[in-house]
Structures are given as C-alpha cells and as structure tokens.
Point group: C2
Chain length 201, copies 2
C-alpha cells in the first residue's frame, strides 16, 4: 500500500511535468514571435521618422532654390528658380505629398506597434507605401535627369549647361535630389518590412 | 437505469455530430484557401508575361529610335538617336535588365503555382520585384522628363524644343516612355499580390 501509494503519486507527476514544460515552450515561442513582430513595428516607426526628415528636407531645399545673378539689364534680370522647370515643380509637389503621407501614417504605425498581430493597418500601410515609393522614385529620377542636363548640357540638341552661371541653384537642386533618393531607400525597406511582417507565423 | 442509459447514449451523439461537421468545414475552407493561393500564383505568372511584353517593347522602341533629317551640309548631318542622351541610354539599359529579370523570374513563378504554400520563392520574387519597380520607375520618369523638354523646351534656360525637327524620333521615345510606365503598373500589382499571398492564412 505504501509502494502503491508512491506509484500513484509518481504517475501523475511525470505526465504533469512534460505538460507544463510543453505549455511553457509554446507560450515562450509565441511571445518571441510577438516580440519579433513588435520589433518590426518599432523599426517601421523609426524608418518613417527618417523618411519624414529626408522628404521634408528634399521639399524644403527644392522650394528655397532661387538664385538671382548680381547683374541685370534694363529689361531682364537673370534669375533661376525651381518654378522655371515643370519637372522641379512636380518634384516639390510630389515630395510634399509624400512627406504629408508619412506624417499621417504615423498613427497607423503606432497601432501596428500596440497590436503587432493586426493585419488591417499593415496591409493599408503596405498599399500606400507602394504608391508613395512609385511617386518618390519618379520625382527623384525626373529631377535627376534635368539636374544632369543642367550640369552637363547636351551638345546634339544644343542645350547648354546652366550650372556655370547658376552654381548655388545647381547645388541646391542636386542636394534635393539626393535627399529624395534617401527617401526612396527608406520606402524600399518599409515595404520589405511590411511584407515580411505579414507572413504567416 | 433505463433513463440513465438513454441519457448516456444521448450525450455522445450531439457531441459527435458537431465534431464531424467542424472537421468537414475546416477541410473545405483549407482547400478553398489553397485554391485561392493557386489563383494568385497564376495571376502573378500572367502579369509577368504582360510585363515582359511591355518592357521589351519599351526597350526595342527606344533602341530603334533613330532619325536622320533628309538634308545635310558638307561637314554635318542632322541626326537624332537615343545614344545622344545619357538618360535614354540609361532607359535602354534599365528596361533590358528589367525584361531579362522578368524572363528569369518565370521559373520561380511556376514553382509558386505548383506549390502555393511555399514562402521561399515568393519572398525572393517580392524582394527582386521591389528592386525592379524602383529601377523601372526611375528609368521611365527620367526619360519622361527629357521627353517633356524635347517637346516643349524651356525658355528660362534657353533649351529649345527639338521635336519640331525630329518628329518621328520624339514619337518613338514618347511611346517607349508609355510602355515603361505600363511596366511600372504591372510591377505595382505584382508586389501587391506577392505581399497579400504571403499573409498568414
């Protein structure tokens, strides 16, 4: 009776311990996966902040690019500004829209931090990010093509380089294009992160 | 005892029927989801075929854009070609790379059709698609900016429109830009489909 009592005590113990262990393992793995998703959401938020800085500086640099030469004739003053070129106007508008979208997307990114497993805000952000990536890339590339022409000109179409006269203007628009390409890189990482966070876990 | 026996028979019956029903529902939903993923993979494949057509036609149109004017002087012949402009050379190279990538991505797309639940080829395609989208968009936008200048010129920088002289050349490069933007739209849908197919199911 003593040994029988000890066996009946022994039997539930080993079957109880693995159950407890298994439960603990499952819980910790689930928590790790939740933590991984939360880390991804925080990275998403930080990348968005960086994108806002890059996008706003691109828009501001382009918007303030304006140079007047110190000499002028009676009828004409030599001046270069972004609004002489439709491409640069498109650049300014596109970068303003993208920066505004990034600011408005911050609340959704915070929701993704608070609820790492909610798919709704993540899909919304992914779709909008793809649209914003396309807009930013097109603005940056179009401005880069015109900046290249401004620096080097083109002999076969008789387009002369204007950066000899407007050096400060050219430096500013070149800086704006670089900032826009930084924004493009930010969006590429944002889309990659969103897509991988949407994976089945 | 009679009523006790009937209750013990009644109890397992209602608990057994919902179990069988629940199992059948789970199986059919899982099959529906598998079929949904297969449909997405087939759409992916068809979109890639359309992207190849658009990308190759953009590259071919740009590569054959070449116009000589019917008059020439003793020292100079008036000719417009894509290789006068670095932007158009970049366009041709980028669209060739993108078309080649799309052809090489077809086997991975077929793997995704055969195995709709495999995440590996889908993640690979997603990453490469994002890179290809950025490349295509930048080529299309840069070429579009220069095509706009060729059509309209720019008065403040004294760049004259060249499309008055080279009408056929301008038509060809405009067509190439349109085809490139069609490729951009194809890539946007490809990325969206890949990301949604990666969702947890």
């Amino acid at each position: 009776m003593k040994s029988g009592d000890s066996t009946t005590i022994d039997v539930p113990e080993p079957s109880g311990v693995p159950k407890g262990k298994a439960h603990a393992v499952v819980t910790s793995t689930s928590q790790q996966r939740g933590g991984w998703k939360k880390g991804v959401a925080i990275t998403d938020f930080v990348l968005r902040l960086g994108g806002i800085v890059a996008g706003l500086s691109a828009a501001a640099t382009m918007g303030t690019s304006d140079q007047s030469l110190p000499f002028f004739t009676q009828f004409f003053q030599f001046e270069a500004s972004y609004d002489d070129m439709p491409t640069f106007e498109f650049f300014l508008i596109a970068m303003s829209i993208v920066s505004g979208y990034l600011v408005l997307s911050l609340p959704f990114s915070i929701v993704a931090i608070v609820r790492p497993h909610a798919a709704g805000p993540r899909i919304f952000l992914l779709i909008m990010d793809i649209v914003a990536l396309t807009l930013t890339t097109s603005a940056a590339a179009a401005a880069a093509a015109v900046v290249y022409l401004a620096h080097n000109g083109n002999s076969s179409s008789n387009w002369l380089a204007i950066c000899n006269q407007f050096g400060d203007f050219c430096q500013k628009i070149s800086g704006a294009v670089v900032a826009a390409f930084v924004t493009v890189v930010v969006f590429v990482f944002l889309i990659l992160i969103s897509a991988l966070a949407l994976r089945k876990h």
